[in-house]
Assembly symmetry: C2
Homo-oligomer: 155 residues x 2
DNA sequence: CCTCAATGATTGACATTTTCAACGGTTCGT
DNA sequence: ACGAACCGTTGAAAATGTCAATCATTGAGG
C-alpha cells in the first residue's frame, strides 16, 4: 500500500512536524476534538454527551449552581443552558428550583435517578480519561491537568 | 437532603472545585474555547480564523498537503476543507495544484501573498500564545505542548 | 414607598459548523 | 479491462453558536 517510490506523500508526520506542530491553539483544538469524540462515544450508552454530562455532574455534586453560573462555567450561551436543562429535566435527572434567595434564578439539583445515572456515567468517563492518558504517568497526568487549569481559568 | 440552613451561593470557584475541576475532557474543552476565542480575535484583523490560519500555515510551509491530508490533520470533514480552501483561493492566498502523482488529489501551495500574510498572522498568533502562557515558565510551556501532542496524536 | 436600571431565564430568529449521502473523475489490484 | 476504493465536490439535514427582545425580579437611590 503506502510507501510509494518517491517522497510522494508528506509522510504521515510531515504535517505534524510543520509549524502547526508547535502551535498550542492547534494542539488544544485537536486534542479537544479527539477526547471529546471519545467521551461522547462512551457517554452515548447512557444517553449523554459531554455537555449534558457536565451539567449533570454539577447538579449531582450538590453545588446548586444557577443556570447563569452554568453558562459561564461551561462557556455557553444562557439559551443553550435552557435547552440542556430542559433535556435533563424531562428525563427526570435534574430539577429546577427557584433560588429562595433570588427568585429570578433557578438552581439545579439532581434527582436520585440523576445522581444514579451520573455515578454510572462517571465511571465510563473515567475509563475514557485513563485510556487517553495511558501513555502518561500519573504525575504527568496531574501536571497536565494543572497546566490546563491555568489556561481554562485565567486570573 | 439538603438541610439547607443557608443557601450558600457557589463561591466564584465552588464550581471549579467540583468533580469537573479534575475532568480532563472538560478542562480541554474550556481551555480550547478560551484560546480559540483569543486566537480568532487576534487573527480577525488579518481576515483569518483559526481554521483558515491552520490551512494557510500548512500551505505556506511547503508541505504540499492534499486536501484529504488536511481534513484528517485538522479533524474536519473533507467538504469543510473544500469551503476553507475556496475562501483562501479566492483571496489568492493559496493555489490548488493537481498532484501529478495522483490526479485525483489537489495539493495546496501558498502564493507569495499567502506566505506574506501568513508571516504577519503568525506573529499575531505567537503573541496570543505567549499571552495565554504568561503565567507558566518556558519549560512548562514545552512540557504542556508535549503532553498535548500525546493526546492530539495517539499511536 | 416608588421609580428605574440591572439581572436571570426564556424564547425565537438567524448564522455558522457538523455530519452524511451521493456523484464524477481517477487510481490500482487482479 | 473490470471493479473496488479513493479524492474532491456538491447539496441537504442536523446540531451549535450567537444575538436581540421579553417577563419577572432584584437592588439602589430619590
Amino acid at each position: 500500500m503506502s510507501a510509494s517510490g518517491k517522497t510522494r506523500l508528506p509522510g504521515r508526520d510531515a504535517l505534524r512536524d510543520s509549524v502547526l506542530g508547535g502551535d498550542l491553539v492547534f494542539l488544544l483544538a485537536r486534542a479537544n476534538a479527539l477526547t471529546l469524540a471519545a467521551a461522547n462515544a462512551a457517554l452515548a450508552e447512557h444517553g449523554l454527551k459531554a455537555r449534558s454530562y457536565s451539567v449533570l455532574a454539577l447538579a449531582a455534586d450538590g453545588v446548586r449552581p444557577t443556570q447563569r453560573e452554568l453558562a459561564e462555567f461551561l462557556r455557553l450561551d444562557p439559551s443553550q443552558v435552557v435547552a440542556l436543562v430542559d433535556g435533563l429535566e424531562q428525563r427526570q435527572l435534574v430539577e429546577r428550583r427557584t433560588d429562595p434567595a433570588d427568585r429570578r434564578a433557578n438552581v439545579l439539583v439532581a434527582t436520585d435517578a440523576g445522581r444514579d445515572l451520573f455515578a454510572r456515567a462517571q465511571q465510563a468517563a473515567r475509563a475514557v480519561e485513563l485510556g487517553l492518558l495511558a501513555p502518561v504517568t500519573p504525575e504527568e497526568h496531574e501536571r497536565l491537568a494543572g497546566l490546563l487549569r491555568l489556561l481554562a481559568f485565567p486570573g
